[in-house]
């Protein structure tokens, strides 16, 4: 396998994590910890797949997947932001619910074939020597994820609205005192995170694999949560982390291809083990985590209390 192909595959494998982790990053920047990423990804995946299969438009599926992720996150938002429920428990509930819902909704679509979103193929560019495939051979949704990253970086650190989101995440009390609608801002951040997770799931279902299998995200939602910590809440580092994990995920498919005789389970464990190791290394410096994490992360906020 040549280098260009390796890069294309690594980016393709890392992209669901880019979407999901970027969405969660924005949610967490507003001070809300949503552990329901896995459930929202699966809801996005199954919805996009069903819509793609019935309308024959994969792009419409992507839009529907984003809407499904946002809709699920809205439930979480109502629980945690309006009803002041515990964010950890609500996020877990969202994951369990999304896993159940997607399995239920996708039953009739398990062996359905759809017209997927395929990688770019612009002969003049993609066939360029050396850099052709590397630069122009990716799936459109891979490019979109990088555009999204730049947009989020710009929004959070270059706009007034982004500053307000971060202020709400650092100190909702102060933000409220100045007159910002804390709950409304957090609702927006939560739903943005949901839409991104849904988009990540949709990418898996209508572009990356492209098929629907129960529980097909296989823990990527949880890995995305770990990636946000790994990235110390900085958007660009998410990209690095996601592609690193994309590469690890690839190992399980590639090792057999090059004739390494090792049970597949060992290789399947790698992404999870890598997550644990990386999380431990990054979290070791407790002071750095405290410094970078939004100060009010995970704490409910009610103006009365």
């Amino acid at each position: 396998m040549d280098l260009a192909q390796l890069i294309v595959l690594t980016l393709a494998a890392g992209t669901p994590l880019v979407y999901a982790a970027l969405g969660e990053l924005v949610t967490e920047k507003s001070g809300v910890l949503n552990l329901g990423v896995e459930g929202m990804m699966l809801a996005g995946a199954v919805t996009s797949f069903i819509v793609a299969a019935t309308t024959h438009s994969a792009w419409l599926g992507v839009a529907a997947g984003m809407a499904a992720g946002a809709a699920l996150s809205l439930i979480f938002g109502v629980l945690t932001l309006s009803l002041m429920a515990n964010q950890v428990a609500s996020g877990l509930a969202l994951s369990l619910f999304g896993i159940g819902l997607s399995a239920f909704a996708g039953l009739d679509y398990v062996s359905v074939v759809i017209e997927p979103i395929t990688p770019l193929d612009i002969p003049a560019l993609t066939n360029l020597p050396v850099v052709g495939k590397m630069l122009f051979g990716h799936n459109p949704l891979v490019y979109l994820s990088i555009v999204l990253l730049m947009a989020i970086e710009w929004f959070l650190y270059r706009t007034r609205a982004g500053l307000i989101v971060r202020a709400v995440g650092e100190s909702p009390q102060s933000a409220h005192a100045i007159g910002f609608p804390v709950a409304r801002i957090r609702y927006c951040a939560v739903m943005f995170g949901g839409a991104c997770a849904g988009l990540g799931g949709a990418y898996m279902a209508v572009a990356y694999t492209p098929l629907w299998v129960e529980g097909m995200t296989a823990g990527r939602g949880w890995i995305a949560l770990a990636l946000v910590v790994f990235a110390t809440w900085k958007p660009w580092r998410i990209l690095a982390g996601a592609y690193l994990f994309g590469g690890v995920t690839l190992a399980q498919f590639q090792a057999q291809g090059i004739g390494v005789d090792i049970p597949s389970q060992y290789l399947s464990m790698l992404p999870y083990l890598a997550t644990i190791v990386v999380l431990a290394i990054i979290s070791r410096d407790a002071a750095a985590i405290r410094l970078n994490a939004p100060a009010s992360l995970g704490k409910p906020y009610h103006p009365d209390s």
Partner: protein
């Protein structure tokens, strides 16, 4: 307009009413869902909640499935009370199944009465070992136990898969990914004839009682509850947060490991690629619905077990997908969390938004 107003102190009544409210709301959602799917909701209700309990065998199944749920939930609750978020019970259960099952396979020919206790201890050790990893990573490296314990679920499941596809596969099993059947001495004795209910249930109830005594009557249990209710007070009082984390994780792991070996030495009788239909995750819901209280957990485990049985019954009688169980489990937890708002807040009617707040608007 209605507004949430903080109660001066949490309402105990609301705390115990909330699970009932949540269960009722879940049933209503079920009715709506069945109607949308074109099933008669009354028939579906009957198939889901009544039919499984009409036979002695059915009641035995209810208690059989409730056993691992209450066992795991009571272990998790000890941690949750102390703000230790172990959500990897499914993995600890799987490790318990592997360790306990491993002993059974290693002593395949044994008829010793010590075999079963040895298996149970091995299962507990397996669960504790698996829970010790997140505890170590949390206390030594500050790594979030939610994520590490969950990642280890996948590792444990893959380990079990590795074993039943490889080293421990039954040589006479036609290449199916499963171990040999355990010998009789490795199986939990049946409690009621003509059912699959085994002595795991009284064992689990004993563990629940022990957990209650530990959390209510021991100093370590008290320190854990303080750590959960008032972390700052726990630090001020000099309670070791490390010990809280270790205890919270290990108790959860031990209970889940015991539940895991209980499955392989009980209804399964051998090692299969999966040791449980998601008991480790369902037990999280059981712990919350049961208010993290031993008695509540026992009741909640029966409800959750009924959801499992109802799902199977609806599959057979109504051609409903079994996945509906997972859907109801999540719905139940949602409603519970929503209803819990009334523990700390009450509704108060107010006349429009306060005008004075406008003065502070920066624009």
């Amino acid at each position: 307009m209605l507004k949430l107003e903080a109660r001066p102190e949490p309402s105990r009544v609301a705390g115990w009413l909330s699970p009932l409210l949540a269960a009722a709301a879940t049933v209503v959602v079920g009715f709506i869902l069945f109607t949308i799917l074109g099933k008669n909701p009354w028939l579906a209700f009957h198939a889901f909640f009544i039919k499984p309990l009409t036979t002695q065998y059915g009641v035995g199944e209810l208690l059989l499935k409730a056993t691992p749920l209450m066992l795991i939930a009571v272990g998790l609750a000890a941690g949750y009370r102390a703000n230790v978020w172990n959500i990897g019970a499914e993995g600890q259960l799987t490790m318990g199944a592997i360790f306990g099952g491993g002993v059974a396979l290693y002593f395949q020919q044994s008829a010793s009465p010590l075999l079963l206790p040895a298996m149970l201890l091995a299962g507990i050790a397996g669960g504790m070992l698996w829970a010790a990893i997140p505890a170590l990573l949390r206390t030594r490296f500050n790594a979030n136990e939610i994520l590490t314990s969950l990642m280890l679920v996948y590792v444990a499941t893959l380990t079990l898969s590795l074993l039943v596809h490889g080293a421990w596969r039954d040589p006479e099993g036609f290449n199916f990914p499963q171990s040999r059947m355990f010998g009789d001495a490795a199986l939990l004795p049946i409690l009621v004839a003509d059912t699959r209910l085994n002595i795991g249930l009284p064992l689990a109830l004993a563990v629940v009682a022990m957990a209650w005594v530990f959390m209510r009557r021991s100093l370590a249990g008290f320190q854990m509850r303080v750590a959960g209710l008032a972390p700052a007070a726990a630090i001020y009082a000099g309670f070791s947060s490390r010990r809280t984390i270790w205890l919270g994780m290990l108790i959860g792991g031990a209970c889940a490991g015991l539940a895991g070996v209980g499955e392989v030495a009980g209804p399964l009788g051998q090692l299969l690629p999966s040791a449980s239909p998601g008991y480790g995750f369902a037990a999280i819901i059981v712990a919350f619905v049961g208010r993290l209280h031993p008695l509540g957990i026992v009741l909640a485990s029966l409800l959750m077990s009924l959801l499992y049985l109802g799902g199977e019954s609806a599959q057979i009688n109504l051609a409903m997908p079994a996945a509906v169980t997972g859907l109801f489990q999540g719905t139940l937890l949602f409603f519970l969390l929503a209803a819990d708002v009334f523990i700390h807040y009450r509704l108060r009617a107010v006349r429009g938004p306060a005008r004075g707040a406008r003065l502070l608007d920066p624009h």
